[in-house]
Symmetry: C2
Amino acid sequence: MRLPELRVMGVDPGLTRCGLGAVEGRPGAPLRLVKVGVVRTPADDGIGARLVAIETGIERWLDEVEPDAVAVERVFAQHNLRTVMGTAQASAVAILCAARRGLPVALHTPSEVKAAITGSGTADKQQVGTMVTRLLRLDAMPKPADAADALALAICHVWRGGAQSRLAEAAAEAAARAKDGPGTTAAAYFRGRGRAAGYSRGTTK
Amino acid sequence: MRLPELRVMGVDPGLTRCGLGAVEGRPGAPLRLVKVGVVRTPADDGIGARLVAIETGIERWLDEVEPDAVAVERVFAQHNLRTVMGTAQASAVAILCAARRGLPVALHTPSEVKAAITGSGTADKQQVGTMVTRLLRLDAMPKPADAADALALAICHVWRGGAQSRLAEAAAEAAARAKDGPGTTAAAYFRGRGRAAGYSRGTTK
């Protein structure tokens, strides 16, 4: 079963730096980088001006990238009390911009994203950035980390978004994992199909 | 010194019920109710649809009410962990809608609002509702509590918003307070000028 390609825009929400990254692909095929960057707002601006700047930035991206879906990091109240309100507010703007256009919005937790990309839900930023760089066959790691995290979210969504409609493939993957020992999502991806589909460059970098 | 009238729209943010209330007035004169109500969104809708519904509701209100300023409750991460993310997201939409129109946005904490309206930063919802009903000379307390809270925010802002530009009056008030014993903002308001300006109906209700 060959799934259609999905163009996903990931958003790592934040007031000071809102990471944005778009990728294109489908489970089991090489991913392509569409665009990566960050919207910054000055810390000494009022919250209103900052949210408007983030909205303007995201709207421009949506116009240009024309994604099929938007993946936003799910924010938890118990983490990072100092910045969580700004993060929640920036995420609201991203969700609003996408939903207003009728785009599907998915929320993924940081550990879901890390697990999908690195195989470990507790991977650090460096590991996530390294895997993003490999999976997209980039020459250098996207900077800042927020930009790399946004790409990781988009990649996670391409993989997870396809999961619902590939039960048959999942069964085959589970069988392969059982044969090869415990593996990670990304590892299974490389092992099972990625290498054959052109990912060897990434894995040997 | 006679300050210009201010029309303020208050927002008590929430995903399930977003309280909205607009009042008109200035410090030292009777306040008028402009409009009060609530935007509701179904709990089983997706977060995207809910934020869009809140945006649509607030935009309609801003078109109709044409406020000079918008006052939004300041959300704290450490309160109500279960609902704080939704509250933060709804507040972001309110702030965004106002700022997009170039309206000044003020954030007031719940205790600032309670203290301004009832004299106690720890007043309960019933007390706040009672004072809102009195100050606006309403026949009944606005329901639900979120609607009354939105009016309280707007009233707080009319009073606090004028505070910066009435240093002379503040000095006079402080003198009056010192003479009459410790008083509250609302009590001082009634005592000092409210009664003479037509607030006796409210205070004797």
